[in-house]
Symmetry: D2
Subunit: 338 residues, 4 copies
């Protein structure tokens, strides 16, 4: 069978997904699209040379009879509405992060999905599909370093544009670590602390940069993470897990080892889009495959909710200077870890 997809939002990420599903992946095709800018939706359909109908609204896409499942790639504030509508229609929905823009909204989605009685929602945390993180998880799960005790992370961008402000380091950048580390450790967070190190002179005057975040898990694992979005030298994601008998590092991306100009070097990417490129492919291929089987294995609505609550705690920790407890309801059996 071929899974027939409707896409809500044909901006950058939406168009990327349309392209990869059409040209690189197996088992699905785009039959319906929409965008707040209808003209742009039409242009994408033409440029990608797909046979898809352009609808007026996301709700039209969701309710189209030939649409089996939905991709929500519209802007964040509209996610809640379309995810809830997909659940109401009983159709599987893949929603780009964030699941919703507030923890309360995430909670409403969780509640709706539980009420529906079957998992339908997957959130676009693509790092779980990265070959490197998966290799790292395998090392941990195999017990190759004993039980995990600490995790040291860095999330560095060469620079950010002027729309990157306020607490986005926590809510937009660090949120990827928030999700992937819970998955990596099979654990949940119980507190957050945020330290503000000496500021770089190379960031915008109004931007605190870097941040240093400390998370504590239920099992007592301590995570420290530097988020440094004006680091100049490259887009660099580091993760070292320290276990009882050894440490394991997230692999560096594959690169040619050069000897040139008095340096022995490998390249560091500068464009974040290239860093997790193949993760997007795996993420969507696996989502297509499991959706066809009527299953759901990826980051759930619960994971999206947990990420939102944790990011909120980090923001509160930053502004108060205090250690902030992270309080979540008990994980419902509905979302049991597999």
């Amino acid at each position: 069978m071929t899974l027939q997809l409707g896409v809500i939002g044909t901006g950058a990420i939406g168009r990327d997904h349309i392209h990869r599903i059409t040209n690189k992946l197996s088992g699905a095709k785009i039959v319906a699209v929409t965008d707040v800018n209808s003209e742009q939706a039409h242009a994408v359909v033409k440029a990608e040379n797909i046979n898809a109908k352009v609808y007026k609204t996301g709700h039209d896409v969701i309710n189209a009879s030939d649409v089996d499942a939905i991709l929500v790639t519209s802007w964040g504030p509209s996610h809640e509405e379309f995810v809830l509508a997909s659940i109401a229609a009983g159709k599987p929905v893949f929603c780009e992060k964030p699941l919703a823009t507030t923890a309360a909204a995430c909670k409403r989605i969780v509640d709706a999905e539980i009420a529906h009685g079957k998992q339908l929602v997957q959130v676009g945390f693509m790092r779980r599909y990265d070959q490197g993180y998966r290799a790292l998880k395998k090392v941990i799960d195999n017990g190759q370093i004993g039980e995990a005790l600490m995790v040291h992370c860095a999330h560095r961008n060469p620079s950010v544009d002027s729309t990157y402000t306020g607490d986005m380091a926590l809510t937009d950048s660090f949120v990827h670590e928030i999700d992937v580390l819970r998955w990596l450790l099979n654990d949940d967070y119980i507190s957050a602390q945020v330290i503000l190190p000496r500021r770089t002179r190379l960031a915008d005057k109004n931007l605190q940069d870097p941040h240093f975040v400390l998370l504590e898990t239920k099992q007592g694992i301590r995570i420290d993470a530097e988020i440094f979005v004006t680091c100049k030298y490259g887009y660099d994601i580091q993760c070292q897990v320290v276990g009882e008998t050894g440490t394991a590092n997230l692999p560096e991306p594959l690169s040619v080892l050069m000897r040139s100009e008095a340096k022995l070097s490998t390249e560091i990417l500068t464009d974040w889009k290239k860093r997790f490129l193949s993760s997007y492919d795996s993420e969507l291929q696996e989502w297509i495959d499991s959706t066809i089987k009527g299953e759901m294995h990826g980051p759930s609505a619960w994971d999206g909710y947990f990420a939102s609550v944790t990011a909120d705690a980090c923001v509160a920790a930053k502004h108060s200077g205090n250690i902030i407890p992270i309080t979540m309801p008990e994980r419902p059996a509905f979302y049991a870890r597999k």
Copy 2:
């Protein structure tokens, strides 16, 4: 459009290709298969859950009216026959290496294809599709190390089974370097020398191991390559290009960096099948894409022919102890480098 494929040979590699085309790649489907063991062909169709007709012979597959293009994955001695028949039928054909088992047979294919007037044949040298080799080629083509002067290679297997005998180190293992280095350097070979180093005591008594091969290119680039198929420690492919201003190494496969048991280490693969796994995906996806467009970009019949002549020269060099010239007709314009 969906490319409809016929597969001749449903052994290990044939079945692998059927699986990836069906489940991971886009744009093609298997509609016809055959195998000398008809029962096995039926079993694969069932196991892979594909809707393909099982034919009695390769010629039936080639001539089936719904078959747009052919995959030849039967045993080597049958390649010439099926590739020639595909050309005769005017259908694109992807043939696993070797193109044919003798240089003369390869030449017959080249002649037939030229006579046909349009390139139809691609040979399964998958290393050209490896992300690492491609990154290396980009460094060279960009002039990042100046003109290439030397290439140092190693091709190491942990061990080989009892069917691996005689000159297979040259004709079966090193043949991959033969093809990929011509492509990497945009150059051709003019001579070969083979040195027999001290033998490992860990190989079968009747097996010379390792070999050390020297190739000279038209531009004077010197290639040295160690082929060591009982190296015990892993499957390890090394390639360093030395240019006028620097050197560039084939990237190591992605691996978790560990600190454990008094070692800072990454893993070396031991199973060769895992080393170029994703290259097979890219190789076939690109072949499907270009075939749909009526184009042919991969390793050509000419490349298969050149590999065969070079391997023969290496074997002659090994047995004579001499430097053996590699003589080929002029490259026909038909096979001009793009």
Copy 3:
């Protein structure tokens, strides 16, 4: 001229120093020794084949007319007494760490030295003499990574013996980072926080292991350091400085890169004594050279005092769970940074 040295304490480290000064270094000789175990002092003189007089007490050594300078390598609680006596005698003194066992005692030494009017005391913080730390400092001082913003450290031992108890992770192990990072950053500390991560099951039941320490400097640089003394895999000292334009890591010790048993690896030391072996040579050679010139360039009494106050703050932070301010008097001009 040859500097004539008296050694107080001929235990492990004392004897090591006697051996290196006699056989590897230039410009000094041992003329006087003492130990609480007089027999052992005689044995060392004999075994090392040196022409040195064995005295009854440290004071006798200090006051011997042919002794130009003193090495204090006795046990910690006796350091204050012998350092003060050396100052009283106006003789240069190299004292192994700790300078004294309490901050108050360190302060008494600082006061005595200032009263004497000339720097005479050097403390045995040998990491400042490590080739790796020196290369790292050069990178920072040259501005190659801009201003330092954060430092990520790890101090790992494979295991500790039963005498290693209580807060020794902070006072005995981490004290090396305390000194070397002040020197590396040309900065001082203003607060300490200590986090207790999930404990390893492989340490003694009564030992908290690991610790995670956070230090803040005057300039706002944030240091995080893992101290993990039962890490099993090796003796491993890590230090990454994050600056405005890049990061710089303490070099790994020189090691043969191996490909063996499915691993690409270098060795990690397991014996801490080997890690800074050549640093001891440089430390003493430079101390001899500068002492002969009547100068003093190494870690000063002030540095010993600062280390003591900082270690005390870490201990207080650990037991309270609070962020503890580190309060020191203004740095006297007498100890101005050079």
Copy 4:
């Protein structure tokens, strides 16, 4: 006891040795010097602040009654004369490489030393004292990679000056590999072949660069070595030994790992003098120590002779294009490997 040394030749290397013996090493002092430029000899004595008598000739230094041993650091063509005179005087002599400028002259030294009846001559092949080569040798000697089968080397200089001509790549640069690999492998050479790869456009027009040398040992080990003296990027010495169960690489020099300007890099030295700096210290300290004991452990006159014969064979191989046998008399028991 203090070894009293006479130095013949106070040029660059002579002065360096005077400096290190005086200021860094233990157990020796310079009491006599000479140079063809007498003024320069006086200047060095003054600048290095040593209490040494300046003699008119090398023979005067050798025969001075207070001179226990000799350092020959004069220009190559004078080495034979002073080494022979030292043997005649029965005094230990350390001679910078080359031992003599022809194989015949080396043979005369060997004969004279055997006639004298006791080893007195050490040749200045400092790589045997390099920490990296020693670590590599330990790995091989410990059997960590089984028996050695092949060695892959590179000897690269960023550039050479206009005095570097003709076959100096073989006689001046590669001669270091010639000596150190015999020692590393505990083996001798039996043939040489030299291949001339495509030339770099960045070398002087009259200079062949690079060279590619193949050596065969008695045990059948095959060595390949690239000598590339205009490689532009740095001074880089590579050596990989391939054994039956693994490979081992000469360690890279210690360097700070940097993340900067889109590169993860370590520094490659550009100044060859810095590469083996500490090897010179070890070489001379160990020579002093063993000379005081009346022993001789370093590279012998026989080793100097073997290096000369091998270099000659390489030159003949280069100019003839042939594989040239390396013929030496049987190793005399006098020079038995220890």
